[in-house]
Amino acid sequence: MKVLVPVKRVIDFNVAVRVKADRSGVDLANVKMSINPFDEIAVEEAIRLKEKGKVTEIIAVSIGPAGATETIRTALAMGADRGILVKHEGEIEPLAVAKILKAVATEEQAGLVILGKQAIDDDCNQTGQMLAALLGWPQGTFAAKLEIGDGEIQVTREVDGGLQTLALKLPAIVTTDLRLNEPRYASLPNIMKARKKPIAEKSAGDYGVDPAPRLKVLEVTEPQKRRSGAKVGSATELVAHLRGVGVI
């Protein structure tokens, strides 16, 4: 079974985000970019499935600018087999991404697609579910555990009340949550090897998808800032303050 792992290039999770003065968006010039953390978890999971002999090939796909090649290389250095870069400059919405991924999944005859549950830049949490809908496949979102069985996959999901386990018919879509695994670091030899792994270059047009956004971003602003308040000397004093303002 082939597995497709979509990986998005996003601002590194440690970087403090700055809104541009003209309110057009967030300043991405000269900031550190990384693979979306949930996608790194997705790559790791695919590799573990391959190590267990459940998966034959892992294809990492990224839709983004030339720099997204680095994101694919990160996945290849971890252990993915080959990459596809669908070149696109500027914003692209989850629905268009899902349409491109549908075309790729169909062309590659993938049996499983593992995505992140959420990209930490747009915080949309949509793409996997949309892809499942477009393909007519079942979805196991927010996965904390996977087990591939006979013609199906069992997914334990992080839901509001705790954990829920579903069995999905294959082919299926899975999106990762934080507890699914702890991604490995790529070793130096594997980073070297990854440089020789193939990355095909495509465009949205190659898949017949119009990448133009449908939502119009009117502005991007800073959130209201909170000011830090007072330091208190002891827990007893703290309780007195909280009683004073009537909150306890």
Binding site: T141, L215, E222, V239, V247
Partner: protein, 310 residues
């Protein structure tokens, strides 16, 4: 035309999240209808009928909706979609799971986790873990929206909506419920609690969380946690507060042994009063705390409990 709100419920009872999503829906389109899909969900349907400002409750009571599986739920919503120009769900695990599937089938974008309705076509939503707020316009197509429930007040429960039973729609039969492991707690829900006390890596162990739990019980508070505390197994996953966990905005949020990473702040910085207890004076949590106590939590928590008196 009309707005449809997908109810969050436990079959027997309606979740507060529904009443908050209705508040958003009323600002977008009218009349507002609410879909209660479940199994033996009369209790939830009866409660939904009391939602103020709602005209009609649609009830699909069938075993196939017992566990809110995305595929049959999406089919059901799609069968109703033609009657509505806006479909909303609270941004709960269920809402986030189901609604994008509906949007994709309708070939429209989804607007995730709105925090404000500026006009029926213009919405504000946080991006980059709440470090920026995006204003987006959605014109010329059906609006599919998830609502950040901490950002909207619930409507009153003094309405009298009509209740209409509807037939179940096709079940694509793609997935099957196997089991669940819900973390039961007598304490209030994180997303509706007035007071939350959360612990982080600083608590060091599952056992030490008792220090937090005792205070929670004294205050009638919910217990939350940082990702680090969940990853370390101190508390179950459903307690995680943050960008990728639950977003809360209680009257009082007490963060204990939590450093205040942006991903954590994203989930609690709209709380009315924030208290931080941390032994590191430089911890970022103090930059947003109304009351900061620089202290060892193992001394501060017992003293806090004692100061609450008997």
């Amino acid at each position: 035309m009309a707005a449809l709100v997908i109810a969050e419920h436990s079959n027997a009872a309606l979740d507060d999240a529904t009443a908050k999503a209705v508040t958003a829906a009323i600002q977008i389109s009218s009349p507002v209808h609410v879909l209660v899909a479940g199994s033996n969900c009369q209790g939830a349907a009866d409660a939904a009928a009391k939602l103020s400002g709602v005209e009609k409750i649609l009830v699909a009571d069938d075993a196939r909706y017992a566990h809110c599986l995305a595929e049959p739920m999406a089919e059901l919503i799609l069968s109703l979609a033609a009657n509505y120009d806006a479909i909303l769900a609270p941004a709960t695990a269920n809402g986030k799971n189901i609604l994008p599937r509906v949007a994709a089938k309708l070939d429209v974008p989804q607007i995730s986790e709105i925090i404000e309705v500026k006009s029926p076509d213009v919405f504000r939503r946080p991006i980059y873990a709440g470090n920026a707020i995006q204003t987006v316009e959605a014109k010329g197509f059906k609006k599919i929206i998830t609502v950040r429930i901490s950002a909207f007040a619930p409507v009153a429960m003094n309405g009298n909506a009509a209740v209409e039973k509807i037939a179940a729609s096709a079940d694509p039969g793609l997935s099957r419920f196997v089991g669940e492991n819900l973390s039961r707690s007598e304490r209030p829900e994180l997303t509706s609690a007035k007071i939350i006390i959360s612990g982080g890596r600083g608590l060091q162990s599952k056992e030490n969380f008792a220090l937090i739990e005792r205070i929670a019980d004294r205050l009638g508070a919910a217990v939350g946690a940082s990702r680090a505390a969940v990853d370390a197994g101190f508390v179950p996953n459903d307690r995680q507060v943050g960008q990728t966990g639950k977003v809360v905005a209680p009257e009082l949020y007490i963060a204990v042994g939590i450093s205040g990473a942006i991903q954590h702040l994203a989930g609690m910085k709209d709380s009315k009063i924030i208290v931080a207890i941390n032994k590191d004076e430089g911890a970022p949590i103090f930059t947003i705390a109304d009351y900061g106590l620089v202290a060892d939590l193992f001394e501060a928590l017992p003293e806090f409990e004692k100061a609450l008196g008997v």
